[in-house]
Amino acid sequence: MRYFLKRLGFMALTVFAACALTFFLMNVIPGGTAELILKHTFVGLEESATEEQLNQISSRYNLDDPLYLQFFRWVKAAIAGEGIGTSYVFRKPVLYLLALRLPATIQLAGASMAIAVLAGVSLGIYSALRENRISDHILRVATLFGVSMPCFWVALLLILVFSLKLKLVPVAGYGSLENLFLPAVALSLHSMAAVMRVTRTSMLETLGQEYIRFAKAKGLPLRKIISRHALKNAMLPVVTVIGFQMGNLLGGTIEIEKIFAWPGIGSLLVDSISARDLPVVQGCVLAIVSMFLFVNFLIDMLYTRLDPRIRYG
C-alpha cells in the first residue's frame, strides 16, 4: 500500500515536471504570444494591428505576468477542474478538443498493442521451439528488420501495396475496421519485433529449467508444458518490454496518425506545433504523458499477479 502511494506520488511529480518543462520551453521566446493570438483571431489583419490591441490581448490573457505566475495559474485551474486553457486556433477549451480526439488514439494504440502482443508472443514461442532451425533464423532476421525500419516508412509501403496496388483497403480515413487495419499493423510492427525477441529469449531460458525437464520426464505433451508451466514463468520480462514499448507506440501514433489522417491526439499535437497553438500543445503532452504513465502503472500491478514472489513495499 505504501508503495502504491509512493508510486502515485511519483506519477504526479512526473506529470507536473513534464508540464512545467513544456510550459517554460514554449515560452522561451518572449513576447510572441499576443501577436500569435492576434494572428489566429484576425487572419490577414495582423499587419495593421496596433500596439494598443496587442496590449489589450496581453492583459486579457495575463501575458504580462511573470512566467512562473502564469504557470501557477494554469496548474491551479487544472487541479480545480476549470480546464487547461483555450485553443488559439479552434477557440475551444483544450479539454474538449482532447476528449474529442482521445478515443481515436486509444483505439489505434490498443489495436496495435493487441496485434503486437498476440503475434509477438506466439511467434516468439514458435521461434524458441525451433531454436537454430531455419525458421528460427528467418524470424530472428525479421525481428532485426522489424525494430530497425522506421514505422512511417512501413506505413507508406503498406499503403503502396495494399491500397494503391491491390486496392484492398482505403488509403486513409477513420471509422470502420478496414480503416483501422493498415495503421494498426504499421504501428505494431516495431513492438511486435521487440516482444517476439524477448519472448524467444525468456522462453528458451525457461525451457532449460528443471521443472520443465521434470514435466517432460513425466510425459506431459509439449502443448501442456508450454501453456501450463513455461508460458506463465516466461511472461515476466515480456510484460516489462510491453511497458517500454508503450512509449514507442505512443510516439509512433504521431507519425501514423499524420499519414493516415487519423483524428487522434498525435495529429492534433503535430498540427498544433505547426500552428504554434501553445495551449493545445501543452494539453497534448499532458494527455500523452498521463496515458503512458497510467499504462506502466497498470503493468506494475500486473507483476504481482503474474509472480506472487514480487511484493512491493
Binding site: 512526473t14 515536471a17 528488420f145 522506421p150 512511417f152 503502396l160 505512443l250 507519425e255 506545433i273 503512458f292
Partner: protein, 301 residues
Amino acid sequence: MDNVFADRFRREDFLPQPGEYGGDFVKRVFQRKDMLFALAALVLFAGVALFAPLLSPYDPNAIDLKNKNLGPSEGHLLGTDYLGRDLLSRILIGARISLSIAFGVVLISLFVGIAAGCAAGYYGGLVDESVSRVIDIFLSFPGVIFALTIVGVLGSGVFNLMLALSIVQWARYARLMRGQVLTLKKQEFVLSAVTSGAGDFHIIRRHIVPNAIAPLLVLATIDLGHVILSIATLSFLGIGLPADIPEWGAMLSAGKEFMRTAPHQTIFPGLAITFVVVIFSILGDGIRDILDPHHEGGEMY
C-alpha cells in the same frame, strides 16, 4: 581502449594475465560473421558519408524540372524527385547529415550522462537523490514526443534538433553511469587512490571513468541507430530540419505525395534508413554479447 575491455574481461572470466585481452576483443569480433559483416558495411557507409560530394553523380540540390519524378534509369540510378533532383546524390549527402547529427547527439548525451552519473554516484547523498529524481523523470515519459515539442517550439535547424535529442537521450547514460560508479567506488584501487590522497576529479578521471565506460559505449552504439531513426521521424513530420537539407526522413515525406506515380521516391530513402539502423543494431548486440557473455541478448532497451 584495450585496457578498458581487458579489465572487463578479467573481471568477467577470471583470467589471469592482463596483457593479451585487448587483442582478444578484436579476435572475438572477427570470429562473429554478423559483426564482421556489419563492420564492413559501417566502414563502407562511413566512407560514402565522408566522400559523398565526390561520389554523388549530380549536385544534390540542382533543380531540373524537365526531368522530375523520373524512375530509376541509367542517367539517374535511383531516379529523380519532384524537383528533378538526383535521388542517389541526395541519399548519399543525406548519409553524411544523418550520421554527423547522430554522432553529435550521442557524444553530447554521453558527456552529459557521464558527468551527471559521476556526480550522483560518486558524491552520493543529496546530490545523488536530486540527480536520480531528475533522471527518473526524464526516463518516465516518451522521448520522441518531448523532442518533437522542443524542436517544434524552438524551430527547425541542426542545432535545435541536436539539442532536443540530447535532452531526451542523456538520462539513460546517466543512470547507467551512476550504477557503474556505485560498484566501482567500493573497489580496492579506488579506495587506495583515496587513501593516497588523490583529488576527487583525479580519481573520477583516471580510475572511475576508464573502468566504467564500456557498457556506455555499447549503449552509444545501439543509440546511434535510434537517434538516426528519431532524426528521420522528426524530419518526416516536417519539424526536424529545414526543407532544403537533403535528409532521408524529409525526402520520404516529400516523396509520399507522388507515391502513386513515382513510388521509388518513398522506397529508396527508407531503405537507406533501415540499412543504417540494422548495421548499428547488429554491432550493438554483438558488442554486448562479447562484453557480457551471461546476458542472453534478449531485451532491446
